[in-house]
């Protein structure tokens, strides 16, 4: 099937997975409004319904693989990049729902809207990664963010949750303003909101002030969204206060979606202006690697520690993107998959160990866990080792790929900074492992409840983490193929002669 956006129906076809997801989410919301609530907890049917919705959207996404797009200027992209990221967001969403089931029951979150909001956030993310139009990008940002603001504050009885939501909302709205302003500037300079057209129309030789302003404002806006230093201050609080499944979702999927839009705007549409934006992104990447890794050294709360670790990982992803070549974008996709698996896995273990009311969140609470709960400790160690980027895990192969991309495009200095900050990060990941295996138990942990869904998530995440480390060739191939559509754009970005002249 071919799509050229000549009729309105084409839009529906092009947005099939999103449409399916939205429709089912709305239906579930309605159903939840009318169904009688059984007084005693238990997993609400809407939760299972939302899993089905994700399954349907995945099927639609598979169907989308056979659809062809005419040209590269349609407002909605139908390329391998989008298909890949769609699968990833759906997967991350499914994992999040699976770990929320028990958590919500335990923490007394009974409202079915939780799952509907999650689905809407996923719709926003999928749109974000697929839109080739500035306005659509902004809309999907808002769709995603509004749902997530609500999710962060979903645990109404918890003060921390409310605080997190407020901070996240205020700064999120603030950053949206930056984004919007930047987009307006871009529109003024490029006289189009379509990214595909913008690339064709832009003349890198005559770049005006409006363009530069637009790039700067957009970079700031994205900096907030992906929590790059110095725009990261909301992150630790939001991550700490949010319900743990939402934290996992925030850390993995939301960041990925924002980065995907970043690729669409900076790497693809503004690819020719690489020389103008690489400086600012260089500094963002550098700071985002150095600062959080240092701050994480002194964290006592494990959720906060992982929050800082996730900021640092945003820095590594920025390194992949600044390379702006094929391997950079492929590295980004690969790393995102590995990172999603390991961070969701890590938060799952945290969620279980924390126990009723999220009490056990300090690193010292993990003392002796290696012997009292050997499986939980072993699997958490696996995720931490992978986050640290030690072989043979997916984290290592991903980091290798990112380093490769940055060396390839001449950013050896960023590669060295990445290596050194990784060294720093070893210390705090090791600290958790030290506590689990080398310090005596302080107070016995009550027997954690490992329900079926939680086990599934852990097994899936661990399997992905190990497989990506040991047999990465197939995923690597897929990641590379997925960005091939963006390639012709990227090829011109790194001009060897230009590099040597620098």
């Amino acid at each position: 099937m071919q799509i050229d956006f000549s009729t309105h129906l084409d839009f529906l076809w092009a947005l099939m997975p999103e449409a399916v997801l939205t429709a089912t989410a709305l239906a579930l919301l309605l159903y939840d409004g009318f169904v009688k609530r059984s007084g005693a907890g238990g997993v609400p049917p809407i939760a299972w319904g939302s899993l089905v919705a994700i399954g349907l959207a995945a099927v639609a996404n598979v169907w989308l693989m056979g659809v062809e797009e005419v040209g590269t200027t349609g407002p909605v992209a139908i390329d391998d990049f989008r298909i890949f990221t769609n699968f990833m967001f759906l997967g991350a969403g499914a994992l999040t729902i699976l770990i929320s089931l028990d958590y919500n029951v335990r923490e007394g979150i009974r409202e079915g809207e939780f799952y509907a909001l999650l689905l809407f956030a996923i719709v926003g993310m999928m749109l974000l990664a697929s839109s080739r139009d500035l306005i659509l990008i902004f809309l999907s940002f808002e769709l995603m963010s509004l749902a997530v603001y609500a999710l962060v504050g979903f645990n109404r009885r918890d003060r921390k949750s409310a605080e997190a939501a407020l901070k996240y909302f205020l700064l999120g709205a603030f950053s949206s303003a930056f984004l919007l302003y930047g987009m307006a500037m871009l529109y003024a300079a490029g006289s189009t909101t379509n990214l595909g057209l913008m690339r064709q129309l832009l003349d890198p030789r005559s770049v005006g002030v409006a363009m530069i302003m637009g790039i700067a404002l957009l970079a700031i806006g994205f900096g907030f969204k992906v929590s790059a230093v110095p725009f990261h201050v909301w992150t630790p609080d939001a991550y700490e206060g949010a319900p743990t499944p939402v934290t996992a979702f925030l850390a993995a999927a939301i960041k990925g979606a924002a980065f995907a839009a970043f690729i669409r705007i900076f790497v693809v549409a503004l690819g020719d202006l690489h020389g103008y934006w690489e400086q600012i992104i260089w500094w963002l990447a550098c700071l985002t690697m150095v600062v959080p890794n240092l701050i994480a050294l002194v964290q006592d709360n494990i959720k906060r520690l992982l929050a800082y670790s996730s900021i640092a990982h945003a820095g590594y992803l920025l390194v992949a993107l600044i390379s702006a070549n094929e391997s950079g974008m492929a590295a980004f996709l690969f790393y995102l998959v590995a990172y999603t698996a390991m961070i969701v896995g890590a938060f799952t273990v945290l969620l279980v160990i924390a126990g009723q009311g999220d009490r056990r969140q300090r690193i010292s609470d993990y003392a002796g866990l290696g012997y009292s709960r050997p499986w939980a400790a072993a699997i958490l160690s696996l995720f931490l080792v992978s986050l640290a980027g030690l072989p043979p895990t997916g984290g290592f192969v991903g980091k290798f790929y990112i380093l490769r991309a940055s060396v390839e495009s001449g950013y050896v200095n960023l590669a060295v900074i990445l290596a050194v900050t990784t060294l720093v990060s070893y210390y705090y990941y090791l600290r958790v492992i030290v506590t689990m295996y080398m310090r005596p138990e302080l107070e016995p942990v009550e027997r954690p409840v490992w329900s079926g869904p939680l086990r599934t998530v852990l097994v899936v995440c661990a399997a992905i983490t190990i497989l990506l480390g040991i047999l990465p060739s197939w995923p690597l191939l897929k990641a590379r193929q997925s960005v091939e559509g963006l390639r012709q754009v990227a090829e011109q970005v790194v001009d060897p002669g230009q590099l040597a002249g620098r």
Partner: protein, 527 residues
């Protein structure tokens, strides 16, 4: 029989040796406590017995790699599962498998808690070490190099003594620091390969053909050398070693001294020197290395002399001995390189034995302070005899193994760097200066502490541990020929190759012009 012959001439034997310990280690986690020790020992023994025939099936006189394999692993990046061995790796492999059952036995005596995890980690460490010695692909090598970190970190951190966590973290961070920069250098090589040959590859043989611009060679040599120098450890980077040794359980110390440090030497011989010949033969670089090695020999000899702690003393002697080996390695004559490798094996055996003997004393008195002992010869004569023999081997008494290696190094290095050799030779004197007083204070004086009168002499198990080591010490001392023969071809090949490069440099920078011309202007800039 032909099946066995096939196995021993193919890569399967190496593949088995590398992965069997890991499998056995994971199995250890699930074995009932009662049978655990026997099983762990059985696994280590199988490993050793399977590896032993390699000594005879190895083709002497061939410098090419043997038992090679190259199975595509990540074809997209040109990364393959490439393994193989030559004379240099053969003996290091055998040293590793020889020490594995011994360290399991040592642990029988010492480790009483969390045993499952312990034996799992010990065996997993075996996989990492053997992998390092057989890997012929930089990606694979790096993975195994890092894989050794975590088990050792656990061995020190969980089963060590009082300051174990500090020592474990220090060990980990020091080693990781070097290896991360090496990773960046590996990636630069990957990129150069892609640029010069158009196809990605990280295979060892392909990397040797790279044309690396001279200026870049220095940076990359520095990155590799830092990783290996930390591991060796060379003088200013050695501070993690005494801590790690003192805090580690006996088996950890044995493996650390005998094998992990040799990974650094091996890295220089296998990678840093052949990859970057221009940098490695550059006079300034060589003098820096010699300077650090001599500092290591002389300075640590003084430091060792005043150590009250037996294990720390042995740790410092390791730094001194490794300094010696580095002199041999960088003198780059075929004798000195052979001597360096041989001395690596010797040092592994004798220092391993020293740590084991120190561990035996610790079992009895729970202290490593030398002053807590004295007059042991009268109370536990067999033990004292062993200690004296091992100490003499460590200070290179002719007829014991240490002498052969040091002699070869000195002979080989004297040809090219007489003054360095003379200075290094004083290290031999110093070795006697710190080692003999320790032996005297522990073994010979009068018994001053009543508690020592009640000490028991070596048990049968302890004899079973120490006797194989003593046999090796004497055997390699009186009949080193078979060992040398196996190293010689590879060592000679390396030294010839380097001599060739040095000659080319003298003739003028023709290869430099070549290197510059084949690399377009787009080489990575360090901005």
């Amino acid at each position: 029989m032909s099946f066995l012959a096939y196995i021993y001439s193919s890569h399967w034997i190496l593949t088995f040796l590398v992965f069997f310990p890991a499998v056995a280690g994971i199995a250890c986690l699930f074995i009932p406590q009662k049978r655990l020790r026997i099983w762990a020992f059985g696994a280590a023994m199988i490993e050793f017995l399977v590896s032993l025939p390699l000594f005879w099936t190895f083709e002497i006189g061939r410098f090419e790699f043997q038992n090679i394999a190259a199975i595509p692993w990540i074809p997209d990046w040109g990364i393959s599962y490439s393994i193989g061995m030559d004379g240099i790796s053969l003996l290091l492999i055998l040293l590793t498998t020889f020490l594995l059952p011994i360290s399991v036995l040592v642990s029988w005596l010492q480790i009483t808690e969390k045993e499952r995890l312990y034996y799992a980690m010990l065996l997993l460490l075996g996989t990492g070490m053997l992998g390092v010695f057989v890997a012929l692909d930089l990606f694979l090598f790096y993975i195994f190099w890092e894989v050794t970190l975590i088990p050792m970190y656990f061995l020190i951190g969980v089963w060590g003594h009082e300051r174990r966590i500090y020592a474990a973290v220090k060990f980990f961070l020091f080693t990781a620091m070097g290896s991360l920069l090496m990773l960046v250098a590996i990636l630069v090589m990957f990129w150069l390969r892609l640029d010069q040959f158009g196809a990605p590859s990280l295979a060892y043989a392909d990397m040797l053909q790279l044309n690396i611009p001279r200026s870049l060679q220095f940076w990359m040599f520095a990155a590799f050398a830092l990783a290996f120098a930390i591991k060796v450890p060379m003088f200013p980077f050695h501070t993690w070693l005494p801590d790690a040794h003192v805090e580690a359980p006996t088996a950890g110390s044995v493996i650390l001294a005998a094998v992990l440090l040799k990974m650094g030497v091996y890295g220089f011989l296998r990678f840093a020197i052949p990859f970057f010949p221009a940098a490695a033969t550059d006079p300034t670089v060589v003098w820096i290395i010699f300077g650090l090695a001599l500092m290591g020999i002389l300075y640590t000899a003084w430091v060792a002399a005043v150590q009250p702690n037996m294990k720390k003393l042995i740790a410092y002697t390791s730094v001194a001995h490794l300094g010696f080996i580095m002199v041999g390695t960088f003198a780059l004559t075929s004798e000195s390189v052979t001597g360096g490798v041989l001395q690596s094996i010797n040092h592994g055996v004798s220092t391993g034995a020293l740590f084991i003997l120190a561990g035996f004393l610790y079992q009895r008195r729970h202290t490593y302070e030398i002053s807590a002992y004295g007059g042991l010869a009268k109370v536990i004569p067999i033990y004292s005899g062993c200690l004296v023999v091992v100490a003499l081997s460590s200070i290179a008494l002719p007829g014991l193994n240490g002498f052969v290696g040091e002699f070869l190094i000195l002979v080989g290095a004297f040809k090219r760097y007489p003054w360095v050799t003379i200075l290094a030779t004083t290290g031999v004197v110093f070795a006697a200066y710190y080692m003999l007083p320790m032996v005297r204070r522990a073994v010979w004086n009068e018994v001053t502490i009543e508690e020592n009168r009640k000490l028991l002499d070596l048990s049968r198990l302890e004899m079973a541990i120490i006797v194989p080591l003593l046999i090796m010490i004497v055997l390699m001392g009186v009949y080193p020929q078979p060992f040398m023969k196996r190293i010689a071809a590879s060592a000679e090949f390396l030294s010839d190759r380097m001599a060739l490069v040095a000659e080319q440099q003298l003739e003028g920078s023709s290869d430099e012009a070549l290197a510059a011309s084949s690399v377009p202007g787009s080489r990575p800039e360090t901005r």
